[in-house]
């Protein structure tokens, strides 16, 4: 596969502050690449360097084999959808979408057909003459995306484009964006601090923290095998524990809960367990499973996401446990004692 974008050892230093630190990655042609990280970790700065609004302090950005050093934003084959959309309020929908095309040497009739085609594609036909201030959040979103896509960029950069939408609409746009990307085949680089957006839409996700990439992986691998404790804690829900000792293949948490985890070649300090890794009432004869007794503290009903919060009798650690979908544990109530099993492979240990 061709690498449409290659970022090599990229850094950005502001006065007395490092926003982006030695980042290396590549994006494949036609891919949906997400950068996921908490607020202030440097995502926007990274994107602004790719689009050319911010000059890199070190490193290089290569698009289709060409270094972008010194090339101004208007000359780069990338377009950006801004965090706040930045639609032109003095123009209507059609004029907004046509803005970029009019800057090129393209005939009027072609501009009209391409704008129309694009508006059809994002489901906005009939809105041509509307002012952008009269549109709903989701429609404004689509205008912003159409305005960039109509230029057929090599790469479309999106900076938290769904951030301003309400939850329902966000869920909807998430799927729509993914379908749109599949349909037109443009490479998307998508920034977000919402892990579900990143996991649902992307082929590859980079998790960013304090200006660095912690892990670049497929959504599935990121979830199943987080490489660092930051990723384990940030992606998906997890029960974190501090580990105070590791002897003879037995971990001890800070509250004194003992768990078997053989064959670690380092001394772990952190342990993460996903809520769905806990097995309620496990059958006795399973291999590699530790069983503990817990007392149900509360039931957190949330439809298919219902969890229980339980206290481990042995150590007073409090954990969140996902309830299986079947009706087996429907009658569970506060104060009940349950047996809970955890498989060794589901204990994710980290040394920092």
């Amino acid at each position: 596969m061709d690498h449409i974008l290659e970022v090599k050892d990229l850094s950005k230093y502001f006065v007395g502050f490092t926003a982006v630190q030695s980042i290396d990655f590549f994006v494949e042609e036609g891919g949906f690449f997400s950068i996921l990280g908490p607020s202030g970790c440097g995502k926007t700065t990274l994107l602004r360097m790719i689009s050319g609004f911010e000059e890199e302090s070190e490193g290089d950005i290569i698009i289709r084999g060409e270094s972008m050093k010194g090339i101004p934003p208007e000359k780069r084959p990338v377009n950006i959808v801004f965090q706040n959309l930045a639609l032109f309020p003095m123009m209507n929908v059609e004029e907004n979408v046509a803005f970029g095309l009019k800057r090129q040497k393209i005939s009027k009739t072609e501009i009209v057909t391409r704008v129309k085609e694009m508006l059809d594609r994002v489901g906005l036909n009939g809105f041509e003459k509307k002012n952008v201030t009269e549109l709903s959040g989701g429609q404004r979103q689509r205008v912003a995306i159409a305005r960039s896509l109509v230029l057929k960029p090599s790469i479309l950069l999106l900076d938290e484009p769904l951030g301003a939408l309400d939850r329902k609409l966000r869920e909807h746009m998430k799927i729509e964006l993914k379908l749109l990307q599949k349909e037109i085949g443009t490479t998307f680089i998508y920034i977000t601090h919402d892990q579900s957006e990143a996991l649902v839409m992307s082929d590859k996700v980079a998790v960013m923290n304090k200006g660095r990439f912690e892990q670049i992986d497929t959504p599935k691998n990121l979830y199943k095998n987080p490489k660092t404790s930051f990723v384990a804690g940030f992606v998906g829900e997890s029960n974190p524990f501090e580990i105070t000792s590791y002897e003879n293949g037995v971990l001890t948490t800070s509250h004194g809960w003992k768990l078997t985890k053989p064959n670690l070649d380092y001394t772990p300090l952190k342990l993460f367990i996903r809520p769905e890794a806990f097995i309620l009432n496990p059958t006795e004869d399973l291999e590699g499973i530790d069983v503990v007794e817990m007392k149900v503290k509360t039931i957190l009903f949330d439809g298919a996401n219902t969890k229980i919060s339980a206290i481990i009798t042995q150590s007073n650690d409090e954990v969140l446990i996902s309830l299986p979908q079947n009706a087996q544990f429907e009658d569970l109530k506060e104060g009940d004692m349950v047996k809970v099993g955890i498989h060794q492979d589901d204990l994710k240990c980290y040394k920092d």
Binding site: P72, E74, M90, L151
Partner: protein, 284 residues
Amino acid sequence: MKKRNLTFYLFIIPVLLWLMLLIVFPHVDLFLSSFQFENDDGVTVLSFNNYLSFFEDSIYWLTFLRTALYSISITVLAFVVTFPVAFYLTKVVSRKYSSFFVLLLLIPIWVGELVTIYGWMILLSDYGVINSFLIYLGIIDTPIVMLYTDFSMIIGLLYMSMLFMIIPVMSALDSLDDSLIEAASDLGASKWTIATKIVVPHAMPGIASGGIMVFMLIIGDYVAPNILGGKSSLWFTEQIYNFFLTTINWSQGAAFGFLLLMLSSAIIWGVLKLTGQKLERVGS
């Protein structure tokens, strides 16, 4: 209707008094006197003669035309000169320094029109600062006549009115989201396109209100055309002045005063219509 209490009246009465005594009454009085005309028998009658003489004697309406054209041109010039400065001060310079620069711009206002005009006279006169300097450099041998010409008048008017353009334009530009400029440049727009398609349209209400203020100030100014302008630099206000103080024909002066008010308002209305601006938006 809501019940008004005493405090409401206490506050509204000075406002009404001010509006009535200082704005409405004098204008009504002026308006009425503009129709008074002394006929051949020396009797004062009501007539349109004071207004008609404006159209009958070409010197009057030609002077008005000249004044209006100059005022429009200087207003446009004020925009051209101040817009880049306003853009620079709001979008490029950091906020900390820009307020300092605005204070600098205010200095001519503190000093007063008359003093700045004398300042320009010192600069522009035949053996003034500029001419002396050019002669010293050997670029010219004889001084260029700048003072008491249309040129010096334009400079004076421009200088005193620029500030009234720059402040509303700056406040309009302040509300322009920087990411709009970036988005335009991301979509391939040149600096010129960004200025004409994004920045100026956004600042249009500010430009319009600045334009109205500057135009009104210039067309109604008396001091700069009178002192800096030459013998041929006729200004309509000078004619009004003459009626009031030289020929002592107050009703004629009143009529011309009203003509100035109505014609300049008509010009503003026309320009606003032409550029598709709404007066309500300009005021905000």
